[in-house]
């Protein structure tokens, strides 16, 4: 059955033009053609993978290997140059916390702004309001302007909104470093609960422990391709070995 998979990525390619001196103004664009020389850097080069419904998958790889670019293409912020990405279900991405927050508005107003960016309707936001406020542990502060919040409070509110968006597919980019240890633990429990409910998760992280705790599969991306995939406990040692070797080579 086709519906077995939530995400199907088929041979995608993506390259960026890296300008040495990018001309953004008319003068620069028309006069200094030579200066606008650029090189094309291929970041993703024929990447293919599939994620089953209800699976929790981690993308790993060294910095600049294209993990975040892949995630951005999954969420449709970027588009691949070629190849196809098929997503089955409602996608929510936790790439950025607190998108669109207005510092002069109250926590409650900002919940509406932020949740609406994830595509929720007014009714859906209202239904989640109590859960969000409770999860954020902000209590009575929720009706104060966000600018009066400490950075911890700010992040807790933002995470509370993001985690309460019920999606079929959740994309997460290294944001599980929120608040104190107790709050982090709470976030993990919530994530585990979400996975149990059958949500598909794709996670980018450098924290081996996080990955082994949450994910049941690991995809190692290297030079824009899948280098290896399998159980986190099998892939992680291989990956660490590679990292150590790479560091040596660089020296």
């Amino acid at each position: 059955m086709q519906d077995e998979y939530s995400i199907e990525v088929d041979n995608i390619k993506k390259s960026f033009k890296v300008f040495y001196d990018r001309g953004f103004t008319l003068k620069e664009a028309s006069l200094f053609k030579k200066r606008r020389s650029y090189e094309t850097r291929t970041v993703i080069d024929g990447l293919s993978f599939k994620v089953k419904k209800g699976e929790a998958v981690a993308l790993i790889g060294h910095n600049g290997c294209g993990k975040s670019t892949t995630l951005k293409m999954l969420t449709r912020i970027l588009y691949p140059d070629s190849g196809t990405i098929t997503m089955h279900g409602r996608v929510s991405s936790l790439l950025e916390l607190g998108a669109g927050f207005h510092s002069d508005m109250t926590g409650r107003e900002n919940i509406f702004i932020n949740a609406a960016i994830f595509g929720l309707t007014h009714k859906e936001i209202k239904a989640r309001m109590d859960d969000i406020i409770e999860f954020s542990e902000l209590g009575e502060y929720i009706d104060n302007p966000v600018r009066t919040y400490s950075s911890g409070m700010y992040m807790r509110l933002a995470f509370a909104v993001a985690i309460n968006v019920d999606a079929d597919i959740l994309l997460i980019d290294e944001i599980l470093v929120v608040g104190d240890a107790a709050f982090q633990e709470k976030c993990f429990c919530k994530l585990e609960e979400i996975i149990e409910r059958g949500t598909t998760i794709v996670l980018v992280s450098h924290e081996q422990q996080q990955i082994e705790r949450i994910c049941n599969r690991c995809i190692w991306i290297c030079d824009g391709k899948v280098k290896a995939e399998g159980k986190p406990s099998e892939i992680n040692p291989m990956y660490l070995e590679y990292l150590a070797k790479r560091e040596k080579d660089l020296k």
Partner: protein, 262 residues
């Protein structure tokens, strides 16, 4: 490329985002300033005072109740002019969101134009109050044409904001060019003078400007209290729809690379 129907459906699904963005634009804008929301009204009123002094005291004309004559077109113009000069930056202003979160990109220009449109509607309460006090409301039946001309102006503004905001992502000059163009455009549109004052052989050229028909219709309805001419309305209608369609399609072409160029 997505079809128009899919895009409309998706924008409809994100309607709450449009509401909250409009709320954010209108309420958030003057938060923290002492006079707050009053600035929405003060800005046009000061412009009105300055232009009235200029054109009825210094450079005299013989239009009766000139301040009203100007007021009924200045408010619609400010809506359009702001959309041109500032609306083109709306995607740049929300750069953080566009680079980090997926949502139909059309939401941003739509929210911007709707916010400005609501500002205009609020200012219209003063326009009506002024017309009433001056005893100029003699034929209230003509007001049924007002929503129509507002819709036309709205689609014109939205179409152009689609075009220029998307273009400004790729070329930063667009914003600076537009602030000059908007100023020139205001003087080339009969906002501060009447169409009769344009030399006969130039009238046709003036009507190539879509805002001429719109402004003339506003003035017919509000100041002269008469039904706008069908010709004027038809031209405005066609141009409004035309720019909206062009903007809608151009935006679709350009939006896929926004996150890369911002």
């Amino acid at each position: 490329m997505e079809s128009t129907l899919d895009r409309l459906q998706e924008i409809y699904d994100y309607r709450e985002m449009i509401f909250t963005q409009v709320h954010r634009n209108i309420r958030g804008r003057y938060k923290g300033s002492a006079l707050g929301f009053l600035w929405t009204f003060l800005n046009p009123l000061f412009q009105l005072i300055v232009y009235t002094i200029l054109f009825s005291v210094i450079m005299r004309n013989n239009i009766e109740q000139y301040s009203l004559f100007l007021f009924v077109t200045l408010i619609p113009w400010i809506f359009f002019g702001t959309c041109m000069s500032e609306g083109c930056g709306c995607l740049r202003d929300t750069e953080d969101m566009i680079k980090k979160v997926y949502f139909p990109r059309e939401v941003i220009p739509i929210s911007y134009v709707v916010s400005q449109f609501i500002n205009m509607l609020l200012c219209f309460t003063i326009v009506f109050a002024a017309l009433f006090i001056a005893g100029r409301i003699t034929n209230p039946a003509v007001f049924i044409y007002l929503p129509l001309i507002m819709m036309i102006e709205f689609s014109l503004a939205l179409g152009l904001v689609f075009i220029f905001s998307a273009w400004a992502v790729y070329l930063r000059d667009v914003k600076y060019m537009l602030s000059i163009i908007t100023m020139a455009w205001q003087f080339m549109t009969p906002v501060m003078y009447s169409v009769d004052m344009i030399p006969g052989n130039l009238v046709k050229i003036f009507y190539l400007n879509p805002m001429t028909s719109v402004i003339v219709a506003y003035r017919d309805i509000l100041y002269y209290q008469q039904t706008p001419e069908i010709d004027t309305l038809a031209i405005a209608c066609v141009m409004g729809a035309g720019f909206l369609i062009i903007g809608w399609h151009l935006f679709n072409k350009l939006k896929r690379k926004f996150a890369e160029y911002l």
